[in-house]
Amino acid sequence: MKAHVAGSTSSAASAVCRLLQERGDVVSCSDQVPPGADLYLFLGGHKAMKSLTHGLVILDLRHDTILEAAPWVSYADLCLVRSDQDREALVDAHGFEPERIFLVTDDTLSDLVDKAVRDALPPAHTERRGKAMSEHGAAMRPTDRPGSAQMVSLAARLEGIERQADIMLRGYRVRSRVPVIGPLIAWVRRNLTSHLREPYLDPTFERQVAVNRELVTALRELLDRQAELEQRLAHFEEEQQHGGE
């Protein structure tokens, strides 16, 4: 595999070059970005990132202590960071998808590169950010009250249930791998079951999905209410303490 390391001539770049060479890759290392590589690894922002239409582009921010090059994550296929804090900063402050930000060491980099160039990399740390922050965000902030840990745990369980609420196999398509007549077979199979699926099974399951979602909403409202009551109780106890003093 042809790899190019760009963006810096520091010791960090030399270390990455060595690592890739040990894997048996043909590695070049300079600020000039050559054509035809399978992998481009940047140790900081580089204007070539804005126009690379081939290969795999990795932005290595493990040595960027203040995440100065964070805006360049937009142009990378994946991004490497050195700590959970950096990862959270890229997700929360800059709004990047958590799935393509990887926490790696030099030992795990080789495996990651292998999978990434084959597009066989599982997403890193899939999260549901919008929902996690949304309906119960304020009520679910941890406090130092004894019950808050359970509340947070309940909220997390609720998120899990919510993810499973939709029981439909939405992405499922009837397919056949038989050459030439495969589409015909798939069409026949689809139409053999459609009289059951369309008027009966699908509506029934959709109703179940709606019930599941309603239940989750009701539980969430109860949880919010519980959190609110806990906050009020804490406030009340605090007032009582001050009154006592």
Binding site: T53, S74, D77, E99, R100, A138, E198, D224
Partner: protein, 426 residues
């Protein structure tokens, strides 16, 4: 590089999705790309009436407009028939009715995409709820050109993203661009691959929001110089939460807080029915549709923006308020929660709960410093994440990632240059 944007309408037609694609197209042109837009000639989506010229060059963007079939009453009936039966049966037999009734049906646009699509490096489809996305996608797939889509889905309206052919488009596209993390979650719940769904967001140009003298702006609307002014800004539809905002204001008025309320935005039947209930409420000023300049003055005049809407896909008005240094209060629904950081740059109130909203406003009235700090944090956030150049960075990055994934899948780049520029294309 060369990009084709296929969209249902383009400015001067008004709308969030229209502004999004126009800002994006113009910024890409400024960066040296060539951008053509295929769209309808309509100003409004109720009729798809062909009013606009067939070809325009707008700020460097070539806008090709195609005649679409008029959406008359019988076409609307077909749409409603399709939707009614589709949601009951989930049968794909009803999808053609929805496709036909939704429009815009512009055969010229399909033909032009098929005939000229190969000239472009990538095709970007915008606004999944309309039919142009379906035939734009079909043409792109037929030609083998990489294609991405910005669905602009509303979580509460499944017909904006969850019809069979809409799911087919999203599953088949090289990349799906969401405007909020909540919208992305929605797509991941549908089963889309997390690698192919990214968040870009909406953006503004900070120079368009120069700020202004609060006292002067208040005099313009006849508002008192002193006291706290709450602004409601948006179309006064039922889901926008105007009733909740007014109820919260009435609660605070009863508590004797020195306040005024400015409601700005186009009236609807719903709002007209609402006003008699709040007639005589002290300090209430109501304006209908206003110009951009009046909108800026209203934002300058207020102390906070309140929009407890439960149906926002993004809520660009929050960004506008922040750019003017004002704190905001929205409803705790997924899309808005993705934009407002509760307690940092605004508050999230319980949807439909006037007393919770009143409590949020009261906190800002009681602590003007907090309000200022929240407004300043909001402005910093917009400058960091929600400007047109920042959003364009994200979309440009998504284009490149989609192109690279295609190249990796085909496994061949022999003789290909490392980078592509407009000069090389020409």
């Amino acid at each position: 590089m060369r990009f084709l944007h296929v969209t249902q309408r383009y400015p001067p037609a008004i709308g969030g999705a229209e502004k999004y694609i126009a800002d994006l197209s113009e910024e890409l042109v400024q960066r040296g790309h060539q951008v053509d837009v295929f769209t309808s000639r309509a100003l409004d989506f109720y009729t798809w009436k062909n009013e606009l010229p067939r070809l325009e060059h707008l700020n460097g963007v070539n806008v090709y407009r195609f005649s679409a079939m008029r959406r008359r009453a019988w076409v609307w009936s077909i749409l409603h028939f399709g939707l009614r039966h589709y949601w009951h049966t989930r049968s794909r037999w009803y999808e053609p009715f929805i496709f036909f009734g939704g429009g815009p049906l512009a055969p010229g646009m399909l033909w032009a995409t098929l005939a000229r699509g190969r000239r472009y490096d990538l095709i970007h489809l915008s606004c999944l709820v309309y039919g142009h996305v379906a035939y734009g996608y079909w043409a792109a797939r037929r030609l083998g050109v990489p294609v991405v889509v910005t669905p602009h889905a509303h979580a509460r309206q499944q017909d904006t993203y969850n019809l069979g052919y809409q799911r087919d488009v999203m599953f088949g596209c090289d990349h799906v661009i969401a405007v909020t993390p909540a919208e992305r979650d929605l797509f991941l719940d549908l089963g889309l691959d997390p690698w192919r769904v990214s968040v870009a967001g909406n953006g503004l140009r900070p120079d368009d929001y120069p700020g202004g003298q609060q006292a002067t702006a208040r005099r313009r609307f006849g508002l008192p110089d002193e006291g706290f002014t709450v602004l409601f800004l948006g179309r006064k539809s039922d889901y926008k939460g105007l009733d909740v905002a007014l109820e919260a204001y009435a609660v605070l008025q009863r508590q004797g807080l020195p306040m005024s309320f400015l409601a700005v935005g186009p009236e609807t039947d719903y709002s007209q029915a609402l006003w008699p209930r709040y007639q005589g409420l002290p300090g209430l000023t109501v304006l209908g549709a206003v110009s951009d300049e009046e909108k800026l003055a209203a934002l300058a005049a207020c102390d906070c923006l309140v929009l407890p809407s439960i149906g926002e896909a993004f809520g660009i008005v929050f960004l506008e308020a922040w750019l003017m240094g004002k704190p905001v209060i929205g409803a705790r629904v997924p899309a808005v929660s993705s934009v407002i950081d509760d307690g940092q740059d605004g508050w999230l109130a319980v949807p439909g709960d006037a007393s919770d909203l009143a409590a949020c406003i009261a906190r800002l009235v009681a602590d003007p410093d907090l309000a200022r700090r929240m407004g300043a944090r909001g402005r910093d956030k917009v400058l960091r994440r929600y400007t047109v150049p920042r959003i364009t960075d994200r979309v440009e990055g998504i284009y490149l990632r989609a192109l690279r994934r295609r190249q990796r899948a085909s496994g061949s780049h022999d003789g290909q240059p490392a980078t592509r520029s407009l000069e090389q294309d020409q």
